[in-house]
Subunit: 185 residues, 2 copies
């Protein structure tokens, strides 16, 4: 019944009502409270946690299923583009402050940490492994991991009708530019 995940992740905490969720699930909104006795904020926390763990899993599998940096990043892009956008800006500036107020700061901090561990750390790890193998040579891999991540996620914002090629093809172009730009002269 956690199709709440879709709505929360796509539109954010404040922009989704419990009625929206109930409607998506095909039940009356009062019935939802049987499943979420602790209310909307608790549901968001649960759903955000699930979502981040799924992302961690998906990204890890994408990494494990490829050998070269290019293939690994393409696999991560494939995963990210198959999921609802991970809007880190909205998350840190809008969702988490609201959750911190509805519950407490520690809960919000925990989700923020989980997000970082689930998305940026694996990306950074991939770059470090590639650097150890000599595929790239760059002094700021953490920054580059964030940049690649943001660039790929940004593709979600392009409406379908404006797409000239697939988002995956565009992601691959971006990845190629990053890899080439991160190589030693």
């Amino acid at each position: 019944m956690q199709a709440a995940e879709k709505l929360f992740v796509e539109r954010g905490y404040g922009a989704v009502t419990v009625k929206d969720i109930a409607k998506e699930a095909g039940i009356h909104h009062a019935s939802l409270y049987h499943h979420i006795p602790d209310g909307k904020a608790a549901l968001f926390v649960e759903v955000a946690t699930r979502n981040m763990k799924r992302h961690h899993e998906g990204i890890q599998q994408a990494i494990a299923g490829a050998d070269t940096l290019r293939e690994q990043l393409q696999g991560i892009a494939s995963w990210l583009l198959s999921e609802a956008p991970v809007d880190v800006v909205r998350f840190s500036k809008s969702d988490l402050p609201a959750i911190a107020q509805a519950t407490d700061q520690a809960t919000a901090d925990k989700i923020a940490s989980l997000m970082h561990e689930s998305t940026l750390l694996p990306m950074t790890h991939v770059l470090h492994m590639a650097q150890a193998k000599g595929e790239i040579d760059h002094p700021h891999l953490g920054n580059m991991a964030g940049a690649v991540f943001s660039a790929i996620e940004g593709l979600h914002s392009i409406p379908d009708q404006y797409l000239v090629s697939s988002r995956q093809a565009m992601a691959n172009q971006i990845i190629d530019v990053f890899i080439k730009g991160m190589q030693a002269d």
Copy 2:
């Protein structure tokens, strides 16, 4: 009185209440309706339009104030990092649908177009100019413009306490990688 801009742009339409705006402006929320007789949605439209026009102006000036592609992109980054985040994902997936429902689809479409013209088109133009001068050589400049934009905007999501170097320094690193990656072999 349009300090509503700050709140709307930072947190999004749904996450900001009229009372929040009134409080930020230091007046009672009922007093706000003297200035916004057409309500919250109309205010958002007005504010979003202003915001996009300011961005267009800021980006154009950053471009005009520099000669090389690197300096122009650094100038654009400096502008973007001095402003509240432009969260295109939240905008397209959350804010605009809400505005379309509160007003009409045409109004939402207009803002979306303005956003594209104000941010991505100037960035793309810069890349095309640089290509004409031989600074870069890449077949998908529109995609690259979006990628640079998203990568820079993503820096907003890093909390101050986690910054090891300034956002501008990180933006410059990203720009260098992009330029090098977009150059011909």
